[in-house]
């Protein structure tokens, strides 16, 4: 009878491992989640915080927000052209991985159902034309569009 709790523990451990693997696999467009997470720590986390939370005084939050840009016109390009993304010293493939990882990790609930992950080629094209001084105004304009776009979506549903 002593074997039963042991087997239970083993089962729980196994399912936890599988769940962890599954969460890594469930990120379309992310070839190497460990590398992407490390690139996030090295290139983004210093300002955007370990959990992407940010605050309205220093860096705007990404957690629960970042994928909503994909729902408004111009938002998909904004994510690739915003200075922190466009000018980072990573090659296009690692950057595409990192952007897709960020969307999945910090705002999976707002990802559109038909979301196509960023490819290295798309990132390469977008980052060639980075946003500079008008980044704050551009962001504010896109964020204004969130609510109207979501109301439209709700009507369709």
């Amino acid at each position: 009878m002593k074997l039963v709790p042991l087997a239970l523990v083993a089962l729980v451990a196994l399912s936890a491992t599988l769940a962890a693997r599954a969460s890594e696999r469930a990120m379309p467009g992310v070839m190497n989640p460990r590398q992407a997470h490390q690139d996030y720590i090295l290139k983004c986390q210093g300002c955007h915080r370990p959990d992407g939370s940010g605050d309205d005084r220093s860096n705007p939050p990404m957690r629960g927000v970042v994928a909503r840009f994909l729902t408004v016109p111009g938002g998909r390009a904004f994510i690739g052209r915003v200075p922190g993304v466009a000018t980072v010293d990573l090659d296009d493939e690692r950057l595409a991985d990192l952007v897709n990882w960020t969307l999945h990790s910090f705002d999976a609930e707002h990802l559109p159902r038909d979301f196509q992950p960023y490819s290295a080629a798309e990132i390469a094209a977008l980052r060639r034309n980075p946003i500079r001084l008008d980044r704050v105004a551009t962001r504010a304009r896109l964020v204004e569009g969130f609510s109207s776009q979501e109301a439209k979506q709700a009507q369709q549903d």
Partner: protein, 181 residues
């Protein structure tokens, strides 16, 4: 007043009679040489090297070798600032009365104990004026100011109540992958 005039005149004439212009030059020359030589005299100047009198700090584990109160310590490879270990804090905690900035400069340093690269977060401690002890400026991986997110010359006291800089800590936030895959 006449007495004062007479006194001044007598003194001036006395000096003029008793000294020569040549001796003035000799005195001036000796004085200048003496002033220049004074700092070279072999006397103890402990006050000019406060770091030499500082007791050594140890982590107590062979996995973390070196003295965190010294600029040579391995985690400080990309630091630019005063070491909190010399300011009443430690290698990863701020001195009392200061607030740690949530916005940080992040780099990697190689640990001599195992040769692996560790990801280090250099958080500034803010709210009290500059500590002024153990200035350390090593700057590995530092980029010019046109890349503000990778430049450590900025004041990183952002997101805190006060933007006044006191000192910097070096906290390990992870181990780096062996190489980009």
């Amino acid at each position: 007043m006449a007495g004062f005039d007479t006194f001044t005149e007598r003194m001036a004439r006395g000096v003029a009679r008793g000294t020569s212009r040549r001796s003035l030059l000799a005195w001036l020359g000796a004085g200048m040489t003496g002033t220049a030589m004074l700092p070279a005299l072999p006397v103890a100047r402990a006050a000019t090297h406060p770091d030499a009198a500082r007791p050594e700090m140890k982590s107590g584990t062979p996995q973390d070798p070196g003295n965190p109160a010294s600029c040579d310590y391995w985690r400080y490879c990309a630091i630019d600032g005063f070491l909190c270990s010399c300011c009443g804090g430690t290698v990863n905690s701020c001195p009392p009365g200061t607030e740690m900035s949530p916005i940080t400069w992040i780099g990697t340093c190689t640990n001599p104990a195992d040769g692996r690269a560790y990801i280090i977060s250099y958080n500034d401690c803010c709210g009290v004026s500059s500590c002024g002890q153990c200035l350390c400026n090593r700057n590995e991986g530092d980029r010019p100011q046109v890349r503000p997110q990778s430049n450590n010359d900025y004041n990183w006291c952002l997101g805190t109540e006060s933007s006044i800089y006191n000192c910097s800590v070096a906290a390990i936030v992870g181990t780096a992958l062996d190489q980009p895959q």
